[in-house]
């Protein structure tokens, strides 16, 4: 009998909270089945054993925010045939990219008594700023079932079935009354990628965009509605600049909104 080759998977961590890696470990019903299908060759949060690369699939959590991480992501790229950016830190820079809108020196002094000990880049960047990324999976954290779908699709050499609609579609499917229309709540649902299951509007609150911008969203048309629903100054800009603020479309939206507020 010929031995079956199990594709090797490496899971890496850059600047992040561990939440996307944890989402993999939270696959309580699927985890052991998954480890039958793939060889988890490198996953430090889960196992001490490390198999040497190269690997078939690399899942990368986190953003690039230090010099060392720039070198490291290039090595990871060389080691992995298929590179998957896992979560909004990896696809857009994450919450720590809020520093991109401020002056890093003043930031370091606020948190650390000895800023000279700290070596951080002035910006937190998505992986794609430094290497070629093959697949992006958004979310803060990623939806664990999307991770399974993605890995299954890769194993079967088919296109992954990931939603291409906005959060609004998921919200409608849940039978929610639109919180933006009915309650005037500021909500990024119309310009945010689906995947979370519209959990925030289901809690009677606005979406804060943790699955990142919907591709080809009608940003310009949306801005006046967002501005009109602000309950305190800067709410719309802050919503855009929460988790996915560094994603180009949200960055542009925040700038448009600030210009609208100035005028």
């Amino acid at each position: 009998m010929t031995p079956i080759h199990k594709p090797s998977v490496a899971v890496y961590k850059f600047s992040s909270c561990d939440g996307c890696q944890l989402s993999i470990l939270n696959l309580e019903d699927e985890l052991l089945e998954l480890t039958d299908m793939i060889e988890i060759a490198f996953f430090l949060e889960a196992r001490r054993r490390v198999l040497p690369g190269p690997y078939d699939i690399g899942l990368v959590e986190g953003s690039v925010s230090t010099e060392e991480e720039i070198h490291k992501i290039k090595e990871v790229r060389q080691d992995c045939q298929l590179l998957i950016a896992l979560g909004t830190c990896a696809t857009a820079g994450g919450v720590q990219a809020l520093r991109n809108f401020a002056d890093l020196e003043s930031f370091t002094q606020k948190v650390y008594p000895h800023p000279e000990y700290i070596h951080a880049l002035p910006t937190s960047a998505p992986l794609s700023d430094h290497v070629q990324v093959d697949i992006e999976l958004w979310g803060c954290p990623v939806n664990k079932y999307q991770v399974v779908e993605l890995i299954t699709a890769v194993l079967h050499k088919r296109r992954p079935n990931l939603p291409l609609s906005s959060v609004c579609l998921e919200c409608k499917r849940r039978g929610n009354i639109c919180t933006m229309v009915a309650n005037g709540t500021a909500c990024l649902g119309p310009i945010t990628r689906a995947g979370c299951g519209a959990i925030c509007p289901s809690m009677n609150r606005g979406c804060y965009g943790c699955f990142g911008p919907l591709p080809n969203a009608e940003i310009e048309a949306f801005i006046p509605h967002l501005k009109a629903s602000e309950r305190y100054p800067g709410e719309g800009t802050n919503l855009l600049r929460t988790i996915s603020g560094n994603a180009p479309d949200f960055k542009e939206a925040a700038e448009l909104l600030m210009r609208a507020e100035d005028s």
Binding site: F14, S15, E28, T35, E68, A120, I199
Partner: protein, 428 residues
């Protein structure tokens, strides 16, 4: 003679750290726990944010304990604004916290620390020889996540908690539906304690100063005063004058000491030793049955304290769900004003302190966060000084494992990149 031991990684922790031990004439002369985890500057970018945005942002400090970061934040703001938690909000916050403790504790017991005690490199390899134990653990962990999801919409970075209460009350029937599974989890948690006491823990007794939240009427998680085994009780407001942070060159995390310059210990072992009396009757009874009542001063046996706390969390979750009956409004009106508030809650891995100052419109002017693992770092280094002479005598692989295991036993949440632990032992 220079002896160097290098291992590729400190695995099975949440975070990126290193460890350095050097010896002169066979005696340790330098020990460092290095934290390479890139700084993420949370306190800085919280400035200027509206208070209701803060729990969503602080959650992202840690994917394993986001609830802790939300609960310390909302409580600190509520203290700044003189908002008293309603009875049902207190209940539901405690229940949310039970979910996080279950999820985090079961993960740590079975997937992070137990492999060290059973001779495995991971729960994945443990599953090859003891599949039932691992599938049971996964199902227990899942219950914690189901509680989080039922209340918060999802288990990692839940979205329901806000200053003043909740965005929406979860359905009573949705929580009741979880009870049979929680009851099953409770039985398994009891079994876990019986199993945990049979494991071969390394010998190490340390005279710790324990620090934990303390509440006279319950095993403190959400609120209380701060109790030290050595210096007694203080209020949350006095935390920063009693516990100080130092910035070391080898670490991107600050190291904490008491105002008497002593390292101290936070986490399950501290809570267990300080608050055993406040545990529920069931947890206390099981502890007595297996003979692990306090004092317990072996850091490796934090696993046992964690297992007893897992019983307490399942047991408490059932009682809280029985009493859940939200008739009051889900959120209290906020009368905005300038002010400052400090609050500590018990994250699964120890005391988590937040303080915020806000202006009259509710925007943050200043933020301070002291996470549990930063408080334990100095303590970990002190433990390694005690362990280092023993490590020197051991074969390379065993030396490395014993050091790694010690750090893992703390359940460190370095909350970023687990890269490479390099244990270098130099003998000059």
């Amino acid at each position: 003679m220079v002896k160097t031991i290098e291992v590729p990684a400190l695995a099975r922790v949440e975070g990126e750290g290193g460890l350095y031990i050097s010896y002169e004439d066979g005696k340790p002369n330098e020990i460092k726990v290095n934290i390479y985890e890139p700084p993420r500057f949370f306190e800085a970018f919280l400035e200027g944010r509206y208070l209701q945005e803060v729990p969503d942002i602080t959650a992202r400090i840690c994917g394993i304990c986001p609830v802790a970061y939300q609960m310390s934040a909302v409580r600190a703001f509520e203290k700044a604004l003189d908002i008293e938690m309603t009875a049902q909000t207190r209940l539901l916050r405690n229940l949310l916290y039970c979910g996080e403790w279950i999820e985090s504790h079961v993960l740590h017991i079975y997937m992070l620390q137990a492999p060290d005690l059973t001779g495995h490199e991971s729960a994945i390899s443990l599953a090859e020889v003891a599949p039932e134990r691992v599938t049971t653990a996964l199902r227990m962990k899942k219950i914690g996540n189901q509680i989080l999801k039922a209340i918060g919409g999802r288990s990692v970075h839940p979205v329901n908690a806000c200053v003043g209460g909740w965005y929406r009350w979860p359905e009573v029937k949705e929580l009741h539906a979880l009870v049979p599974e929680i009851e099953w989890g409770l039985e398994q948690a009891i079994e876990t304690v019986h199993w945990a006491v049979t494991l071969p823990y390394p010998e190490l007794e340390v005279d710790y100063e324990y620090v934990a939240l303390h509440h006279p009427a319950e095993y403190a998680v959400l609120e209380g005063d701060i109790l030290s085994s050595h210096t007694g009780m203080i209020t949350e407001e006095d935390f920063e004058t009693h516990y100080l942070e130092k910035h070391m060159e080898h670490s991107n995390a600050l190291h904490s000491y008491t105002n008497e310059n002593q390292p101290y210990f936070v986490g399950p072992l501290a809570r267990y030793n300080l608050n055993f009396e406040q545990l529920g009757a069931l947890a206390k009874r099981i502890a007595a049955e297996v003979g692990v009542e306090p004092p317990l001063h072996n850091p490796y046996k934090g696993l046992i304290a964690r297992a007893i706390e897992t019983i307490e969390s399942f047991d408490r979750a059932i009682r809280l769900i029985e009493d859940y009956n939200p008739a009051e409004p889900n959120t209290q009106p906020i009368k905005m004003r300038a002010g400052e508030g400090a609050a500590a809650t018990e994250a699964p891995r120890g005391l988590l302190y937040h303080r915020y100052r806000i202006n009259e419109s509710g925007f943050v002017e200043n933020a301070r966060i002291v996470p549990p693992t930063a408080q334990n770092l100095a303590r970990m280094e002190a433990d390694l000084w005690q362990l280092a002479p023993i490590v020197y005598e051991l074969p390379h692989e065993e030396a490395t494992l014993t050091c790694e295991h010690l750090l893992r036993a703390y359940d460190p949440c370095i909350s970023c990149a687990t890269h490479f632990l390099t244990l270098t032992i130099e003998d000059k």
